[in-house]
Symmetry: D2
Subunit: 439 residues, 4 copies
């Protein structure tokens, strides 16, 4: 009411509406494959971009119009901002939000003060959660902005910085636990290097593993049941981050005995900066049983930095939802809009346009994916494509009964193997367009 | 004599020489850190680019002048070509070579015939090895050119193609073994996908793991003592290869229980196509104890395909040699020039210019790296940079005696942590230039 | 009939059909903005990819199944292939085709023989054109495959190669003229460099300009009325091509006094390899009055080479059609599918799937763009966004009546300027999705 | 003395020195090709990165230690900072500096106040110039940071913003003139678009041309003799900047009749972000007679943003100096270090390391290039490579006496053309290494 007076609760009006402030596809209660859209999509708004971002870029300061901001870093401002956030989220109708410790409370002169400041906003967050029914999808700690983290946090060349990071994450997990957070995310913005020449790669990764083992231990100690998630990103701010992509994280987790305790929070723009499609990263993580949650946004593939645009590409949202449906959903993870409006979109109402667009695109992606599944178009094709693996020779190989020797024998008799049928990629692309535009 | 009549055995003449057909830095017997350059560098010439490549690209056929080629695929031509190769390598003075099965012998109408053709060139290879003292660094199988592999080899959607690949690799390992090969390389050119929509990611990777387990079993069976190596590449010819980069291979090996049996053969241009520096990939593989061998070349970072240029950048060769020296060498691996002359460099003598340049650049890199090590420039800096980890708090953390709780306690008392000193990247870059140009 | 016996003339069946061999959106006679789709889109099939491409890539030879190919380079095979092409195009219902001289006839032992061979297929082409009513959108000469062009054609370091290229282009223009071609295209595949160190940049570009001036002169001489087109591409096969992008071509044309005689043939994948969206390149060329024709395809932005995929992305086709409609169409240019099926799509029917998908995607793009224009969504927004330029100060500036001095005076009085309103990018993206999926 | 007490005037000590605070190659008075290094290189320090940059990045605020900064934006702080700068530059021994209007003075509440503030620091700049002999290489205006420029400056959708930009540039040119600046630079950080859908491409570029014509007129009016320079950059902060690369600027200047009044200020990292090598951009600009000055830095080709690192790559500096020597120098332009220390290099002394490294690398590049020229290695090769153009057929073509007809006649008689000799790229690369490491 108070902060976005001109914007009502966003209604669902259906595909035909041209009201810019309505949903055309997202209808929280609509059942898809027997489950409500709300529970399939588990949308979250992120506190950082949406309530702390002002549109700054490396060539200019922020220029967003945010009438509620008073220009201070006071606790009062922090509490007001929380109210703004919950009004926004209520009007939007999202069930979740996410935050970093430093998004919601200012930093003090030392750890004690900083923790105290954070403690003072927790009741406001809790009260707003209760008032609105909006829950915490995940919390996290900002281990990248403060100058102390210039050389990294858990991978800093300084032991005292590691210690500070440990203390900070401990507090952030506690606060997440207090607020009923369903997950806790580790993103290592400065865990990597700017210069390999001055870096002890192995020692730094050993420290990171030690840090995460401590986190696991602490989680058990306090009985936090949320899922731990690691968010891969290849670079930016560092030249090379250790959690480069899903594969690098899997390699790390398996090398250090951590794979039972973490899943992945996969972000679209991070996937593409690492040279993968989002669908690849999702399918790869899912194949390892490690797809936990997603940071939904979109990059510009002609730009080499993290643009964090809102995900409105229906090819993207459809491919995401196919992987998510195939693994039976994301819960306790969700779809967090780690996305920001462009600097040029500086009016408050742009925040609504942006989130509505992302939510509708995912809702549409969900419906398209679901119809493709109902019709079995992909499944039937794959069934036929891999048919030779479902009997005879294929079964013998998969069951472990064949060796190089027996296979050579088989092939000496057979002579040669020839391609059986086309991969039909172009046909697939046409099928996809058929589903896309008849949704 | 016969095939490069105008080129003598390439002599060492020292840095001052401007004879284009001499070494200015590579002197096989020169001791560096107590070991001959020959044994540090273990150079190999690759058969494919150097003796089968003709300069074809997607827009035109080959145009290389190779007077010994008669335009046929006969066995006689195959044997002649082997003699050309050994003359070339003898004149160059490299101790090793590498080949794919299909580089050295033509393909027949079926597996039996093809194997038979391969068997018929092995004696020639063996005789030339004995005559010249040149050894086989590694053998491998071409599982990507033949149409049967259009959908992959070990990851084909067809079981019979998997079987053919198994038989082919069995034979290639046998031949490598016969020729005393010191390693055997797996590069999965078509082990990946062009279209994720028609691909069962998990099933294909399960098949790849099964295939490699069979290879390990077969290796034991025949007593082949060579090292198995996997060569990462992110893409090309496929849109996405499973062995994307070193991290993806580590994730795969650890997931499927294969990490004791394989190391990595890291290639510069594959590293950069995957978004990493070569130094990163080497350091990463080495940190895991998995750096086995390197494919030495260079990409053009403004181009998005594998240009396989000869490695003449001294910053590159110095960084490679620092990692290699740090891990005590590459043996039984080596430095294989998986590199090709440009299409415009179509004369036979260009093959000499190219290899001389690569060998000299690595020899120089070796000398520069060794002097940097002797002076301790990097080591001393790192020692100081990580000093807080070598006593007190750092030791407590590394030893596993600290928890989030004890670290929070420590930091509440301490208050905060501040950056201790600059990372000095610019100073490093100056130091590097100092060593580079006074070599 | 003869060559694709299982494929009928492709019918229009509408959006609801799931027949893979029908059009769901392309209906040649359907009027859009008062003009038939056929005349808006002016589709052409390219001879090279579709009838000469076999799926070869740098790691393997072609593996396409083309039952009509006899493995020879005979004239008879050339004539048969032309019949295959016209059967294919007739069934598809496209009004145009395009070819390189070397696509339709083999190369002989010297220029005279080669020209003679070309002359012998022209009657077949002409007869098929007459039989089917399919016309030649444009002809061109292949100046990149033959080894003589290894160092370039018009920009070769050899004057005799320039001369050969001139003779070849002369012949290609003549043949295009004979066949009633509506345009003639210059694509400089090897007009650039692999190595700047051995290249005289200015002299080579002077030669290119001289070459094009000769072409203009020749065109006048024979009365060829077709439009000359230059096709930009940044790289591949060369490291850097002179016609890098639309801007580089405009700079070249204006510098050498050629801008009245050439327009641009813009290709999607070339645009993206140069770091631009296709929409940018189209809008840029159109703004200069130089948008002549398009090569319709699609790249994979995570790959760094020209993948030439079929254009099925509706965001892409919609943006193309908006620019094309805004400039009143492309004629005498058209939309040429310079696209190829994937190597894995090796069956003849895949050629139909691919073209149907591209045609439908452009037809849909046309309809979406047209509805957006009818509703004025973009126009109205732009009108308002630039409103301050349509009166007062804006008009004063545009008319040339203001100077730095008068503007300073104005601003000293006014004090400052502030942003008027948001750029509304997110709203636009939502609007686009609304039109896209209700088409 | 006052601000860098521990750093002396940087002495020249020669290649053997390992003093980190000395020049090993740059000796201002040393003659190369008869001209002092100082006059070849015309080094400038940039005010923005070096004295206003604090190491902020999109993920954290600045953390540089700058003891002289008092945290205010006062005029006094501005004057102190100027003194710091001149002490730094004097100790470094550079003859030039560059600045934006907003680097040296704070912004006031309106244009009048802002201009007044700028006027108040000009005497300090002038006094320091006179005291030290350091001159202004170029001035420029910051038209990208202030929120008023969110939609562009000369290309804003708002006429009043254009007017403000005009007034601001007028003042910046006046101040540059007052301080004896030898050039004035236009860099259009926000002259481009974030979203092509909401942009009138042609109208915006028309406005830009109008703006530059006004600048030319104003320059004449006040008798400013300095060279006007345009600095290309492809993107960042915008998604696409109008001055994308050298070719785009040439196209623009020629289209709008501005090419007699502007040259280019070419920056390495901008070149590579646009897909070109720096050597390409320099050679291209020089070929057009438009190479005016350079912004010397270096990008990281595996990162997609402007990293502005110091130029220490000797391959880069050598290639730059070859082009610069070939055109007879850069004056009145120079080599401006538009480069910044890494965020991790936060100590004041790092500013010295960084600049010393860049200066030495260019000095070395100059010496290497000069020796290559003295030996004629490139020239002789090129002479031979293009030999067929220097007589006979080549001369006939270049002189304009040949036509397509006469060339066809020539080639019908001749039959064919064949490649004459290899491009020898690998040989070149070896030669380059020979010169590089014997400097």
């Amino acid at each position: 009411m108070a902060y976005f007076p001109e914007v009502p609760v966003i209604p669902f009006e259906g595909a035909a509406s041209n009201n810019p402030l309505c949903f055309r596809h997202y209808r929280a209660d609509e059942l898809v494959e027997g489950k409500a859209m709300r529970d399939h999509l588990r949308f979250a708004v992120c506190f950082w971009h949406t309530f702390r971002g002002q549109g700054a870029d490396p060539f200019g300061p922020g220029c967003a119009l945010r009438p509620w901001e008073d220009g201070t870093h006071s606790l009062e401002m922090a509490r007001t901002r929380i109210k703004v956030a919950f009004e926004f989220m209520s009007k939007l109708g999202v069930p979740f939000y996410c935050f970093h410790d430093r998004d919601v409370a200012p930093e003090g002169a030392n750890l004690r003060e900083t923790n105290h400041l954070l403690d003072q906003v927790v009741p406001t967050l809790k009260a707003e959660q209760e008032r609105t029914g909006i829950r915490l999808l995940w919390g996290t700690a900002n281990l990248f902005s403060h100058p102390r983290y210039v050389h990294g946090a858990a991978t800093s060349c300084q032991a005292d910085v590691f210690a500070f990071a440990a203390a900070q994450v401990k507090k952030a997990i506690e606060v997440t636990h207090q607020l009923g957070g369903e997950n806790y995310v580790f993103w290592g913005g400065r865990e990597g290097y700017s210069c390999l020449w001055n870096t002890d790669l192995k020692r730094e990764q050993d420290h990171l593993a030690r840090f995460l083992h401590m986190a696991v231990e602490f989680k058990k100690q306090i009985g936090f049941q949320g899922q731990f998630l690691i968010e891969p990103k290849p670079k930016e701010p560092t030249v090379h981050q250790y959690d480069f992509d899903a594969a690098a994280v899997v390699a790390f987790l398996r090398t250090y005995g951590l794979s039972d305790h973490f899943k992945l929070n996969v972000e679209t723009n991070h996937a593409t900066l690492a040279g993968h499609t989002m669908m690849h990263e999702l399918a790869y993580a899912s194949m390892h049983g490690l797809l936990g949650s997603i940071d939904a946004n979109r990059g510009d593939l002609l730009l080499g930095w993290d643009t964090d645009q809102f995900p409105t590409d229906l090819y993207l949202t459809t491919s995401c939802m196919l992987v998510i449906l195939a693994q039976g959903g994301l819960a306790p993870g969700g779809i967090n809009f780690d996305a920001k409006v462009r600097r040029e979109s500086f009016e408050p109402v742009d925040l609504f346009h942006a989130h509505i667009g992302g939510m509708d695109a995912f809702a549409q992606g969900l419906k398209i994916a679901s119809r493709m599944r109902a019709d079995g178009v992909l499944k039937d094709f794959l069934k036929d494509r891999y048919a030779t693996w479902d009997s005879g020779l294929g079964t013998e190989i998969e069951s472990g009964r064949m060796t190089f020797g027996s296979l050579e024998q088989y092939m000496l008799e057979r002579g040669d193997a020839a391609p059986r049928r086309s991969g039909r990629q172009e046909w697939f692309e046409n099928v996809l367009n058929r589903y896309l535009t008849s949704s």
